[in-house]
Amino acid sequence: MRGAAALAAILISIAVQTTLARYIFAGSSAAIDLVLIVVVYVGIKSGPVTGVVAGTVAGLTVDALSSGILGIGGLAKTLVGFLSGLLGTQFIVTAPLPRFLLLVVATVLHQAVFTGLYQLLNLGQFPAPYTSIVGQAFGNAFVGVVAFQMIEWFPGFVDRRRAGRFLKR
């Protein structure tokens, strides 16, 4: 059930990333990676194995939809999913700050692997990668923390609203 939810979250994030994100984050210099944020969240919540599977599925799907080399993004997101799951099981990452740091680290790792493999294989040059990576890291961290809080806040909010309606009657 958790796997299906994770798969659904990945698909939704990809759909949003490819359709709405470019409108939502049109003014931002940092390319927000919603799929990466979902992978991190699945890893934190479900552990390293599910994180690996989620990272693999998400990364390969993104690679397949992009014009790049199939597998490079997948490998990067797989490592991110594993790292997220590992840190989620070893540390308490429920507060916003640890999640923010985790998202920063995850983004840096993802970009390091992704850009590093492209440069290692001599497949493309990325101008000023460090600036881009830092900007994306903080952007992903901010959006991710907000998203995580909303996701975890939303079920409680619904329950409280239902309970309030019941008491008014």
């Binding site: 194995v49 690996v52 597998g71 997948g74 490998l75 594993f82 294989l121």
Partner: protein
């Protein structure tokens, strides 16, 4: 492996996922030489696997051929040894046949040269007692053999027939202590009587002390004994001593090697001396 077990081993899952991605990336990326990385890596990796496999196979093959298959080699070796032994026996038979053919050829030449009525015979047995030097030949009275017929060989005089049966005959060798033959020294024509000593040598008796006798002189039959035809080689003087008596003491080494006697000729034509003696009473 159950899903629960897989979840307990995230490292394995991560390794598998990384491997999957590496393969996937390698399938799309070319090396500096323009060849696909997957192909190069796969070939390189698999070549090592093949090398290892071949090393194992070679090892097993070497073990098999070096140890296990030696059982077959041993059988083959035994078969070859048997074949070699059979070939050696056959070679000896061939040599024997060749030797026999050579002996028969010499006998034939002797027969033609002697102008005598002879019959060839094969020595089939030796003497029963070492004190008497005799042999048995495979021809007997059925081949018109009779007592006192001379037995000769290409090398020289062998002896005489002393006991002919129907299909075999006993031959007294000249070296027997009871054998004797009329002889003469070829160079000086001095006559005497050759007798056997019994130890393989011959002694020439009744040769006058004044006669010219030298070591190495050839001694041949004189033909006066009525048994041996004239002119056949008996042997060579081994040594001669001028004794205290009136005669020389002459020891002769026989021309015939009696230890290797195989084929002989029996002279059915009586010597001229016996013919003359036989004809005299009739006159």
């Amino acid at each position: 492996m159950a899903i629960a077990d897989i979840k307990q081993r995230p490292g394995v899952v991560l390794g598998g996922a990384i491997l999957l991605h590496v393969i996937l990336i390698s399938a799309q990326v070319n090396t500096a030489s323009g060849l696909p990385v997957l192909q190069v890596v796969t070939f390189g990796s698999f070549s090592e696997v093949q090398r290892g496999t071949m090393a194992v196979i070679d090892g097993v093959r070497g073990l098999w051929s070096g140890y296990v298959a030696l059982q077959q080699v041993q059988e083959e070796n035994n078969a070859l040894k048997q074949e070699m032994a059979a070939m050696q026996v056959r070679l000896q038979q061939e040599r024997t046949e060749a030797q026999r053919t050579d002996n028969l050829r010499q006998l034939l030449e002797l027969r033609e040269r002697a102008q005598l009525d002879t019959v060839a015979a094969e020595v089939i047995a030796g003497g029963a007692s070492p004190d008497f030097k005799t042999v048995t030949i495979d021809k007997g009275s059925s081949d018109s053999l009779a007592t006192d017929m001379a037995v000769i060989s290409p090398a020289g005089v062998v002896g005489r027939v002393i006991l002919p049966s129907r299909r075999a005959s006993k031959v007294q060798l000249l070296i027997d202590r009871n054998a004797a033959a009329g002889a003469l020294i070829e160079r000086t024509r001095v006559q005497g009587v050759v007798v056997g000593i019994g130890d393989g040598m011959l002694r020439m008796q009744y040769v006058p002390g004044t006669a010219d006798v030298k070591t190495g002189d050839l001694v041949v039959t004189s033909g006066i004994d009525g048994i041996y035809p004239k002119g056949f080689v008996i042997g060579m003087i081994d040594h001669a001593d001028r004794g205290a008596g009136a005669y020389h003491e002459i020891v002769i080494r026989p021309a015939v090697d009696f230890s290797r006697l195989e084929e002989v000729l029996i002279v059915r034509t009586p010597p001229a001396s016996r013919t003359a003696v036989d004809e005299e009473p009739g006159k």
